[in-house]
Symmetry: C2
Subunit: 342 residues, 2 copies
């Protein structure tokens, strides 16, 4: 009789724990220069609807922190979450950050956002513990938890935009490196005799395949080498070209555009081979504006990757496009909070 | 009174556990083509004296496994260790290996060593659990635990010999990658238009700075470009040059030798910069034959590293020479066993 009672007690306790577990959430906040995004993430890692508010840039750091707290409360209200339901808040912000102390060291597009203890401002304002993470790392973690990295153990996210950034997931955790500078994929040197990069190195990967440089290269070749075709017409009409223009013209069969786009994809593939040689990840995932090209990016990158990759083993690392679009960062920020506060 | 009794009991138990803990050991075995090495490592990670036996190459896989068991027993006897004192055995062997199943897939210098379940042969022969690890990874772990990596959290070992290999330690553990191919530092591509490598890629790092290629480059420049100096004399007298010859002649002020050596050190530094951009380790440690050059290697590598490194942050990764010499592998193998069986 006593044994049955104690077993029943165990079952009741386990059910209670399970019920309270499934009711817990973490909230992600993604701080950008234009918008702040919010999302709640339950233990099932299925993100709820996102909330998006404008970043009150002109109100400075305090105004931004207040908006973050207000948005958090708005999200909780709309999803009927009490303070007790929320284990913690994860904040994704652009670097440079002091992660250990939760401080935004600098954020050029918000005046006054220098050495601001953003983590504590939000945490104290909301009465909920908070954690700060680099936005690229948060996006990598979001893709890992709920996007193109599902099922992987080691994953590298490569963000393709103005520059090239990245985030590394090792054994299911964000890898920061010894000084939080890991994953600077855009600054792998691919040509030590190459063009000078803003970082002080020469021939960095992002000088060959970021959106900025693909567009720049096309413009330069038109202006300096008199190259013709669709892109030359666009440049004449609009005064500028984007990487998207190059990609679309290439898909339309424009020869010069194909040449420029393909050269960018070649260097991207070279970066992937070097990532494989050092890290041997399950998956490399492309995100950011340029990843919208989808197969227009994957096709040529995979082709060059296959040609550049060694023959000692089969190709085992999969190259994919991110699955969460612009929500990867905010979802990942919530995941970071799960990691910190569960 | 009851409380004091129970506290005393706790103290007695803790002392007992500690006593039995300090008596436990793991044994490392490093299998090479010429010698097999053995060492016992206590919980204090201070390695005991090593035992070295010739590898009975002509006796095939079974003979090699028997020698490993015999050496293990000899080591245990000489250090008065019973079977109960040894928690486990770590075996370091050259790749390719199937780590999960403890199988040596191939080892060209031992006839018949193909798909041999070496881990189980040793474990069953000795009656002690065993674990298999790649020898470069074991060496990295050895340096991390007891050598130049002491105090680091993330460390990369670069072995400089015939080729360039490596091992990555992340958060104090060997990082294998998704398919056990991580840390192939010698096959980072540094010049995609460069020389073909045996691996099927072009312009791999080891084609520019391994001992083999530094010597080859000097020979080629003497033969094809008619370069003169000490190395040309050595080549005429001996019919061959080694990387060590190049380094010593460079230290003696020979101009041509300095040029060749410095070029190798430049590429080594380039590899280090790319390691930092991706992994941001606390430390990069050089091991292998070429590392015997000591400051003759560190000086020029650090100089080029400083010049190639970005200016966004100070240089925070330290570059050092391995501290355990040829014992890193066997000590690390014992460490791997601690990790597996403690």
């Amino acid at each position: 009789m006593l044994q049955i009672e104690s077993e029943l007690l165990l079952i009741i306790r386990s059910v209670r724990e399970h019920m309270s577990e499934t009711q817990k959430y973490c909230v992600g906040i993604d701080l950008g220069g234009t918008f702040i995004k919010f999302v709640a993430l339950g233990r099932d890692f299925r993100p709820g609807p996102t909330l998006q508010l404008p970043t009150p840039v002109q109100e400075g750091p305090d105004g931004v922190a207040k908006r973050m707290v207000a948005g958090l409360e708005q999200l909780m209200q709309s999803q009927r979450l009490s303070r007790e339901d929320v284990l913690g808040v994860g904040i994704g912000a652009p670097g440079p950050l002091n992660l250990a102390d939760g401080i935004v060291v600098a954020m050029p597009n918000i005046p006054g956002m220098e050495n601001v203890p953003l983590r504590d401002l939000v945490s104290e304002g909301a009465g909920i513990p908070a954690v700060l993470e680099n936005d690229a790392n948060a996006a990598a973690y979001g893709e890992f938890l709920c996007g193109a990295g599902l099922g992987a153990r080691h994953m590298v996210l490569v963000t393709l935009g103005t520059g090239i950034g990245g985030g590394i997931i090792i054994d299911g955790k964000i890898y920061h490196g010894a000084n939080t500078f890991a994953g600077e994929i855009g600054h792998i040197i691919v040509d030590p005799e190459g063009e000078e990069c803003g970082c002080g190195q020469k021939g960095c990967l992002e000088r060959y395949c970021s959106a900025t440089y693909i567009a720049k290269r096309a413009e330069r070749m038109i202006r300096q080498e008199g190259r013709t075709g669709k892109l030359a017409e666009l440049l004449r009409d609009n005064g500028a070209i984007t990487a998207r223009d190059v990609q679309l013209a290439a898909e339309d069969g424009d020869k010069f555009a194909s040449e420029v786009w393909d050269s960018g994809m070649y260097f991207l593939a070279l970066g992937c081979v070097n990532i494989c040689r050092l890290l041997d990840p399950d998956r490399i995932v492309f995100a950011g504006g340029m990843a919208k090209a989808g197969d227009g990016l994957l096709g040529p990158v995979r082709k060059h990757f296959k040609q550049l990759h060694w023959s000692l083993t089969d190709i085992l690392t999969k190259i994919e496009i991110a699955g969460l679009g612009n929500d990867a960062g905010v979802i990942g920020a919530a995941g970071v909070a799960w990691n910190a506060f569960d």
